[in-house]
């Protein structure tokens, strides 16, 4: 589903190199975890996948279901099934969460040549998805992310993810800012979306998220390169020994 080949990228503004040759293949149904210390390029990778124009790809390619993803605009990638759960979800003042959901769902449907959802159909879907994530009607009426607690923001992200039904989910430090209960709710929400047709890339510092969302493959990212790949036990090992071993390897 996702093939990243020898990806090199830098910050467009000051040309700081961030990614130095990433190779990664994610198949449908798989959950890959990407771990690594601060500044290793984890979030940059997620932004480049989503198409943020602060970064410049200097070498390599990204194929999404065989298509050259780097030639697609961010909204085209979204319509093609790429979803990024933001580490810091953005506030949209005055726009009710419900309204945002409807606009996003219909925008993607339009891009795919489908009819907009009828109001009852939309409401049915929202209500079902919201109840799993403990999202209240009241929260859906509030402007998106404005005044939301850390937990509410992340639940709203997963709510969007479940309603937009993406093929590839990239979760950027979804565990940051969550207490234990919120972590459990969010993780359950994510696990519900695991399916043989859907791939996930879970970016995190900490192993604790992976207790809930158990990955098939774990990668260690350091200085813009994948330095180690293993199964879920790799995450446990990292938790015990830290990143020191791998950071040195990369240097």
């Amino acid at each position: 589903m996702l093939e990243i080949k020898n990806l090199h990228a830098r910050i467009a503004e000051d040309e700081t190199e961030i990614l130095n040759g990433i190779n990664l293949t994610v198949n449908p149904g798989e959950v890959h975890a990407i771990m690594g210390p601060n500044g290793s390029g984890k979030s940059t990778l997620s932004y480049i996948l989503a198409g943020k124009d602060d970064y410049e790809v200097t070498e390599g390619e990204i194929l999404f279901n065989g298509e050259n993803m780097l030639e697609m605009e961010p909204d085209e990638r979204a319509a093609a099934g790429m979803f990024l759960a933001f580490q810091y979800p953005i506030e949209i003042p005055g726009v009710a969460t419900m309204e945002f959901l409807k606009t996003a769902m219909n925008a993607q449907r339009k891009a795919r040549g489908e009819d907009p959802l009828s109001i009852p159909d939309f409401m049915k879907r929202v209500k079902a998805a919201a109840s799993h994530l403990n999202v209240s009607m009241d929260m859906l009426k509030r402007p998106l992310n404005v005044g939301f607690s850390g937990g509410e923001k992340k639940r709203a992200e997963i709510l969007q993810m479940s309603l937009l039904e993406p093929k590839l989910c990239v979760l950027d430090e979804t565990d940051s800012g969550l207490d234990i209960d919120a972590l459990r709710i969010v993780s359950e929400g994510v696990n519900k979306l695991r399916s043989p047709e859907r791939a996930m890339v879970v970016i995190t510092h900490y192993q604790r998220l992976l207790d809930h969302i158990v990955p098939d493959v774990v990668h260690v990212l350091s200085k813009g390169r994948i330095v180690k790949t293993g199964d879920k036990d790799l995450a446990l090992e990292l938790e015990k020994n830290g990143y020191a071993d791998y950071v040195d390897t990369a240097a």
Binding site: A50, D54, D75, L84, G94, V95, A104, Q108
Partner: protein, 490 residues
């Protein structure tokens, strides 16, 4: 001049889709002589068969106007207007007070159809729930041609007609209230309007009556080179209520057009007037050429105790907007409100805001202004909140937000606050923000196109004001704002 005509044709050919309402209807027009003089005013007044006192009133205004200087304090710039190069009278020739739609020039009806005014669909309109009905007093150039729903309004005792008709049918009412809110000498443009006003609407809601429907006027400037000087007078007698909507479009053209309207509202004891405007006049082409000059004086007088006047405006058009809908809070416990969305794009210049003049005890006012600037436009909020000596416990809350789209536009806020009473409490909040790259990226990541993202964020920004509009116009206004901002990103 053939050169000018050629330009007009070219602009029409190229730009016809740029401005949805850009067309000129080919109807024979009758024009008075060019230029501003006593003869012009007398001709105008005679054409409208006005009473002698009205002619004198106009002449007095003209004499005052000739001694006045054009104000320059607003943050707008434009070439000097030659008032002697304008026509002050134009009327569709074939129309002389038709009694029904059947008598109206079919081409005129076609124009309305293009504008989406449901005049020709009177039966359909009549089929709508009575409380949802919209009565339209259509102004075509200078003469009110058709008024719908007059009969039904009559039953309720509400007078809704052109001001020319009011001068004939209800001269005492007009004489009593005309110029009582905006005096003849109020300001340069208001004085000009007083001398040469062409036509406009008159509304009188009698004591205790709640007007059974929204009243609405569509303005349309059609005759090239004709200054349009609307005059509107609305009186809500004791304990009455009326909601009035003014919406307008204008044809595209290559010459600047002057518009200097005056609107006067009078609310007596316990009365309420809600006045909403959706303004979408030609803002000029891509290079800022053409476009309407809009110099408007709008003022409401809360004359009686517990009266209330509320202005809501959505301003998206005009090359230049100079407009400060205001409230004089004279009656004890009276309330004034001003809700505004001013969108500027391209080369538009807006200098707009409100004045809340607190004269009576326990008066309160609320100002919510949302300015959106894009392109190379300049958008200024100018507001005055004042409490006079006797205005004990006057209250005001002002919130003034500006949103910038792009790098080349400007937003300015000029609030004046004067308090001569120690018990007055005025609050002012102001913010300026930009649509951030992060917000755009977030929306795009969810699948919205750039234009959908801007429309969504802007509609969130203006939500507080949109909510104040009558339901059926809120949707239209949202669409209009999105259309106005098309092409502002990227």
């Amino acid at each position: 001049m053939p050169a000018v005509q050629e330009t007009i044709d070219k602009v029409k050919a190229i730009d016809v889709d740029q401005y949805k309402y850009g067309f000129v209807t080919d109807i024979e027009s009758e024009k008075g002589a060019k230029g501003l003089s006593e003869e012009t005013v007398r001709f105008l007044s005679a054409k409208k068969s006005e009473p002698e006192w009205m002619t004198e009133w106009r002449l007095d205004a003209l004499r005052r106007f000739q001694q006045m200087e054009e104000p320059t304090w607003a943050r707008v710039s434009y070439p000097k207007i030659d008032f002697d190069d304008l026509y002050y009278w134009a009327a569709p020739k074939s129309v002389e007070g038709p009694k029904s739609l059947d008598e109206v020039d079919p081409e005129l009806l076609e124009t309305y159809a293009k504008l989406g005014i449901p005049l020709a669909e009177q039966e359909i309109l009549a089929g709508v729930e009575p409380k949802n009905r919209v009565a339209v007093d259509a102004v075509f150039d200078s003469v009110s041609v058709v008024t719908t729903f007059k009969e039904e309004l009559k039953k309720a005792g509400v007078i809704f007609c052109s001001i020319s008709e009011a001068l004939r049918e209800y001269p005492d009412l007009v004489k009593k209230y005309l110029g009582s809110v905006v005096p003849v000498t109020d300001n340069f443009y208001a004085t000009l309007n007083s001398a040469v006003f062409s036509d406009g609407s008159f509304v009188y809601v009698p004591e205790g009556v709640r007007c059974p429907m929204e009243l609405s006027t569509y303005f349309r400037i059609n005759e090239q080179n004709t200054g349009q000087f609307e005059r509107t007078l609305i009186i809500a007698d004791k304990g009455s209520y009326v909601s009035y909507l003014e919406g307008c479009t204008a044809p595209q053209r290559d010459e600047n057009q002057l518009h200097a309207a005056v609107v006067e509202l009078v609310a007596l004891e316990d009365a309420e007037i809600k006045y909403s405007t959706v303004q979408n006049w030609f803002p000029g082409d891509k290079d800022g050429k053409g476009g309407i000059y809009n110099f408007v004086t709008k003022r409401g007088d809360c004359r009686g105790k517990n009266s209330k006047i509320s202005w809501t405006q959505v301003e998206t058009g005009s090359a230049i907007t100079w407009k400060y809908p205001s409230c004089i809070l004279r009656g004890e416990n009276s309330r004034g409100e001003f809700y505004s969305i001013a969108v500027s794009n391209g080369h538009q210049q807006i200098d707009s805001g409100t004045k809340m003049i607190h004269l009576g005890k326990n008066t309160s006012s609320r100002v919510i202004s949302k300015g959106i600037s894009a392109g190379k436009s300049e958008n200024t909020y100018r507001g005055l909140i004042s409490a006079h000596r006797k205005a004990s416990n006057a209250r005001n809350f002002t919130q003034c937000d500006s949103l910038l789209i792009g790098q080349d536009c400007g937003a300015h806020t000029v609030p004046y606050i004067e308090s001569k009473n120690a018990s007055a409490q005025f609050e002012h909040e102001a913010t300026t923000s930009k649509i951030s790259d992060d917000q755009m990226f977030y929306c795009l990541q969810r699948g919205l196109s750039e234009e959908e993202a801007v429309a969504l964020i802007v509609n969130g920004f203006v939500k507080d004001v949109i909510q104040q509009l009558p339901m059926e116009f809120a949707v239209e206004a949202q669409k209009l704002i999105s259309i106005s901002l098309e092409g502002s990103v990227g």
